[in-house]
């Protein structure tokens, strides 16, 4: 069975040990948990290529992290229960979630801890994710209309995390930074279990827009914001417009990668160039990351994070491991070689399907 990862930048496909990447036009996939966004016409064009070139009939799907709401819950059982399953955890956790949050959302859980104290009370901690049924239904229907049947849906960061565990050599306490095109997701793991998540809405796309603006080129940000209302959808782009938009996006990405946004070595010239360049997006990006780590440290003072693992397509810009190591005073390393750092989730999902 194939694996498809739909992200803000591209659709990545792994089928029969062959990788495919189909760059998407601007504003195809995005939004948030409350207002997830998908442009059916544009994605349908991409899926038609997926079906034709990658020959996919069934797939496991990886969806963007920003479509989910991540929660951490804990509850106490006066008497220890055997076989604490995820359905039980979801049922117990519902009264801790606001009705307007869980209404119309599919919930899944990962149990992080089950402990029985000296008072014989059982304490259960869990990590929950919620995704709106609306977006799940739309994605499933869209894929089905284009001849691809979805068998499994997972979040991007979960798939990346599982890949890293399979790869081995993972510390108990670490931070996972999945820096993509639309958002940067930061997961904090203590004792091998997730304890805190934050999604920063500054990522590759915003650097690209800033670069276009600086170059005096029209920015896609200036184009009218697409409506999540499908009834008011714009007319379907033709294949040529689709190809032009994707090609332009790839070109800007290559230019950004060549521009070396972050210094990759302790070189005076590089550091001076970095300091002299004014970039509001970069400053905001670093500020948000710093705030996130500061907040985690304040909330979990006993947990010391010495390692950060970087994944996601924006890592291809280069220099992030070196820069963040100094910036955050920890060891930051890439989760995989740069040429495949954007497709780690594909391999972990493939292994998961193989193992059943």
């Amino acid at each position: 069975m194939a694996v498809i990862d739909i992200g803000g930048y591209s659709v990545k496909v792994l089928n029969k040990n062959r990788e495919f990447e189909f760059v998407l036009p601007e504003n195809t996939v995005g939004g948030t948990f409350t207002l997830p966004f998908i442009d059916s016409h544009k994605l349908a064009c991409a899926l038609a290529r997926v079906k034709k070139e990658a020959r996919v009939a069934e797939c496991a799907l990886i969806i963007p992290d920003q479509w989910a709401r991540q929660l951490f819950v804990s509850f106490v059982n006066d008497e220890p229960q055997e076989n604490i399953g995820r359905d039980y955890v979801i049922w117990r956790a519902r009264d801790q979630i606001r009705e307007e949050v869980c209404a119309g959302a599919k919930i899944d859980a990962h149990i992080t801890a089950v402990e029985t104290g000296e008072d014989k009370k059982q304490r259960v901690s869990a990590y929950l994710c919620l995704v709106k049924y609306d977006i799940l239904n739309r994605v499933t229907d869209l894929f089905a209309e284009n001849g691809v049947i979805i068998k499994n849906i997972e979040l991007s960061s979960h798939a990346v995390h599982n890949y890293l565990i399979s790869a081995g050599n993972l510390p108990d306490n670490f931070a996972l930074l999945n820096i993509g095109y639309e958002v940067c997701t930061i997961y904090f793991f203590v004792g091998g279990q997730p304890v805190y998540v934050r999604i920063i809405e500054t990522a590759g796309k915003h650097f690209e827009y800033e670069a276009r603006k600086a170059a005096g080129k029209p920015s896609a940000e200036c184009s009218p914001a697409p409506s999540s209302d499908e009834t008011a959808a714009p007319p379907a782009p033709d294949a040529d417009a689709f190809a032009r938009s994707a090609a332009e996006k790839q070109r800007y990405s290559r230019e950004l990668a060549a521009a070396k946004l972050f210094p990759d070595k302790a070189d005076l010239a590089s550091l001076e160039a970095f300091d002299s360049k004014i970039s509001a997006v970069r400053d905001n990006f670093l500020k948000e990351i710093h705030l996130t780590f500061e907040f985690f440290a304040s909330k979990f003072p006993h947990a010391r994070i010495n390692n950060a693992i970087l994944t996601g397509g924006m890592c291809r810009f280069g220099g992030l491991d070196f820069f963040l190591s100094g910036f955050l005073a920890l060891e930051a390393r890439y989760g995989a070689p740069l040429d495949r750092i954007q497709s780690l989730g594909l391999y972990s999902m493939k292994e998961r399907e193989r193992n059943g």
Binding site: H110, V114, C129, Y133, D141, A144, G147, E154, H158
Partner: protein
């Protein structure tokens, strides 16, 4: 606790079922069944096309023949000419046309049962029915011979034979009384004639017309 986070946000949708390979295969098989059936019918029809045409033509011709036979059957009447010899005749023109003379003499073969029933009927009717011995034909033939023996210009008309009253009568025209007397004498000489009465209706130099009445012998008429 397992470190791997395995969540699944899969939703079951009718659209996915409709486009699944299993659904498509099942739909193709179900749609193919009537197509295969009609294809087979078409193939069978065209394969046996010549035979169908031949059989249809044969049915049409046989239907025509059947209609012809039916018409002929309706238009014919089978008469028993002589019960003793089982002589039967066929008369045409019974239903559709005017009835013609005797068309054909056919032999009717009765089953043994029919023969025994006929014999029983005769036994039961013995004595109850008077069987005419000298029948109409011999009387007519006799009169005809008598007329022929008298002369060429003797005309007989309105001849009637009534076995109930044992009487036969006719009108006659001849040239002279002599011929009339000779005719009456010839008829008296017939075996079936008892008495002959002649009543002259008109007498002239060249023509004599008379009414002749003949009483038939009862014993000679019936068995």
């Amino acid at each position: 606790m397992d470190r791997k986070i395995c969540m699944n946000f899969y939703v079951e949708r009718e659209s996915a079922l409709r486009f699944s390979p299993a659904f498509r295969a099942a739909r193709a098989v179900i749609m193919a069944v009537p197509l295969i059936y009609f294809s087979y019918i078409a193939w069978a029809y065209y394969a046996a096309g010549a035979e169908y045409a031949e059989l249809n033509a044969r049915i049409e011709s046989e239907q025509e023949q059947l209609d012809k036979y039916q018409r002929e059957l309706k238009n014919s009447r089978v008469l028993f000419f002589d019960f003793d010899s089982s002589e039967t005749v066929v008369k045409k023109g019974f239903f559709f046309d005017f009835e013609g003379p005797f068309a054909d003499t056919v032999e009717a073969v009765f089953s043994p049962e029919m023969n025994s029933r006929t014999a029983k009927l005769k036994e039961s009717l013995a004595g109850a029915v008077r069987i005419v011995r000298s029948w109409e034909r011999s009387i007519l033939e006799g009169i005809s011979r008598c007329v022929a023996g008298v002369g060429a210009k003797v005309a007989v008309s309105s001849l009637r034979v009534d076995f109930n009253s044992l009487r036969a009568d006719f009108n006659v025209k001849c040239q002279s009384n002599e011929e009339l007397r000779r005719l009456a004498g010839a008829i008296r000489g017939q075996a079936w004639a008892a008495r002959v009465f002649v009543s002259t209706l008109k007498a002239g130099p060249d023509e004599v017309s008379a009414y002749v009445a003949i009483s038939l012998k009862e014993a000679d008429q019936f068995e």
